[in-house]
Symmetry: C2
Subunit: 398 residues, 2 copies
């Protein structure tokens, strides 16, 4: 790390130590102060955002909509902060509690993870959402946004830090890294610079981090998700779920990329195909399609001879994200949910439901297909670690 | 990876898929068969062990005792396997369960991690203990033992695999890597070769893995543990706990390396010093001592002016393993347990208690100071990940 990044990391560690001792009330007061600061600075935020929007209008018109902050959306940012303040604090909650034979009283409870680096694309709301989710769980965070939202991110960072300072918590609990790839590479090359990196959105950036980071990365390494239409599938559910899983938002990691159809339900293929094509989806049947995460209006199709073949296909091509079976056969559903190895497995429901808000977690900072630490949507609990506290009255080990 | 290691990893993945679907009864039957096989092959095990013991007698006499398997210890191996069979199966246990507003029924439950690489020193019992802990939690494992126990490990591996085959589970659920550093380096360079590496014992090997592995490492990165004797410390407890934390087993990661004494209890220093010296401990007061993990009969001593100074010292020099305060002051104990950032924090008890068996986890495969996934002793639960299972009747996302 260069001197600047080292300083960012050191300041984050110091702020994290303060935050770890902050009470729920203190943290919630800081979130309330951040929401107030957003409302107070709304016109300044909208003004700075206009700078980014103007530049993007010529350079990347496709992102203008999601980049834009108007009065309504700015008010929405403040509301989202207050919604996070209303979520239960994961810290302090007791996971295990017991008195050992020697009289030692052992408790294991949740404590903050420490310092979290969040890397994301040109979505200004993530600057605020990520910061407040980290704060609520008692963590310091380092934000690394997109060059295309630079002016917006700068003002939002100022506003968040102003809110923290207003509430008497260290402003350095939220800092930013420059939006430069080389600086990011240097930062993540140092294993102790942060405790975890969470990439949010942006496949290319995510792969870059998974490839280069010495800090653990929590991310969905891929989303080659399947819908398996079983021999005992209900026709209407099969079509509705496949279409929804593909088209409701094709560019995200929980969208389906291949539909597997049991030979015994091949009668559904023409109807399924026309329903997909009616939504503008191209259907491909080649082997290359099965291995491709299209993130677009393209879907692979394969006819399989059995549930076993479907399970083998998913074990071969799947990325362990979200997998669905459509069936009225309880035994087939049971085998599928037991044998498919993924973060989330669905019976008669769309893969698109893999999401923190849908799962009742209130909000998510990302989705992980890691097997270690957190698998699935990353909510507040996933931003914590644990601590054993052992209370004795002089016990020594014999 | 070379071809051989790639094949080991591939076979482990295939075996892991079978194991993930095995019932608790099937896994326990395999453990029983392994225990039986150990008893049946006892004389062969003792014979092969004698080869290693003879070689070690000239090369490394210090390890002969822990390397030796006689009849009693071999019977102990079988007993340890049966004790693991008696532990509750972590897989399948439900962590969260709820019905979402749209009627989806969501459960989150524990499932096996997958493939676990265990790297350890010349302790033949670890070959058996590590294998059966991994198996009980539904994981395939790859064992990498010491050259000094090569002959013993070979026969134990055969016996474990024989037990698996007797019970109808894949023998490849337990495999070994050659005891060659270069092969280990090649194996851990490939991020997907295993899901996690657990080093057990051997500081140098552990640091090598933490430095080089692209597979996540669960380990105690260091054990610079402290006993802080507060102004309100009970004199007897202070001496007993400090001495126990240092001398009960000085070579392990939860042994204390520095004692911090509040200036208000400096009166205890002469007694503390003579109690330590009576046990052969050398007491050092220089700054270098504070940063050193002696793993030997040496302890650092520092007088601090306040609880704050003790907390700062521990934040600076501690490695986040096990930290203890000796005090009769509840407020001081409370601040210490809240503010010290470590896997385990003790009040009026020895740091030596950080251990899976002591914590009622039945057994441990190691101890971790990681913040992600598992912090503290690694029991069966820590050898699992989770899966969301979502049951619907045709729900799609709107």
């Amino acid at each position: 790390m260069a001197v600047t990044e080292q300083a960012t990391s050191t300041r984050a560690r110091e702020a994290a130590r303060v935050l770890a001792s902050a009470t729920t009330e203190e943290k919630d007061a800081a979130l309330a102060a951040i929401a107030d600061a957003i409302e107070r600075r709304a016109s300044r935020i909208i003004e700075q955002n206009a700078v980014d929007v103007e530049a993007a209008a010529s350079e990347r018109p496709a992102i203008v909509d999601r980049l834009t902050l108007d009065e309504r959306r700015t008010a929405g940012l403040a509301d989202a902060v207050r919604a996070v303040a209303d979520l239960p604090d994961p810290c302090g909650s007791v996971i295990r509690e017991m008195t050992l034979e020697n009289g030692l009283r052992l408790t294991r409870h949740r404590v903050p993870l420490g310092v979290i680096l969040v890397v994301y694309e040109a979505r200004p709301n993530v600057t605020v959402d990520a910061a407040v989710l980290c704060l609520k769980a008692g963590n310091a965070c380092i934000l690394r946004g997109s060059r295309l939202a630079r002016s917006t991110n700068e003002v939002l960072l100022d506003v968040v830090r102003e809110g923290l300072a207003d509430a008497g918590l260290p402003a350095d609990a939220v800092q930013a890294l420059p939006d430069d790839r080389a600086e990011l590479a240097r930062f993540v090359a140092s294993p102790g610079a942060a405790d975890v990196v969470i990439p949010r959105g942006g496949e290319e950036l995510k792969h870059f981090l998974l490839e280069t980071s010495r800090i653990p990365v929590l991310a969905a390494a891929g989303g080659n998700c399947h819908v398996y239409v079983d021999a005992a599938a209900d026709p209407e559910k099969a079509v509705a779920i496949t279409v929804n899983a593909k088209v409701q938002r094709p560019g995200v990691c929980n969208a389906a990329e291949t539909v597997l159809v049991h030979r015994g339900r091949a009668d559904l293929i023409p109807g399924l195909r026309s329903a997909l094509e009616a939504e503008g989806v191209e259907v491909r049947e080649d082997e290359e399609a099965w291995a491709t995460e299209f993130l677009d209006l393209v879907i692979g199709l394969r006819v399989v001879d059995s549930l076993d073949d479907a399970l083998d296909h998913i074990a071969t091509y799947g990325t362990g994200h979200s997998e669905a079976i459509v069936t009225e056969d309880a035994a087939a559903a049971d085998r599928f949910t037991r044998e498919v190895d993924a973060a989330a497995v669905y019976v008669n429901a769309s893969t698109r439901f893999t999401d923190g808000a849908e799962y009742g977690m209130g909000a998510e900072i990302g989705i992980s297909t890691n097997r270690l630490h957190a698998r699935g949507p990353l909510g507040l609990e996933e931003l914590t670690t644990t601590k054993y506290v052992v209370i004795g009255d002089g016990q020594v080990r014999g």
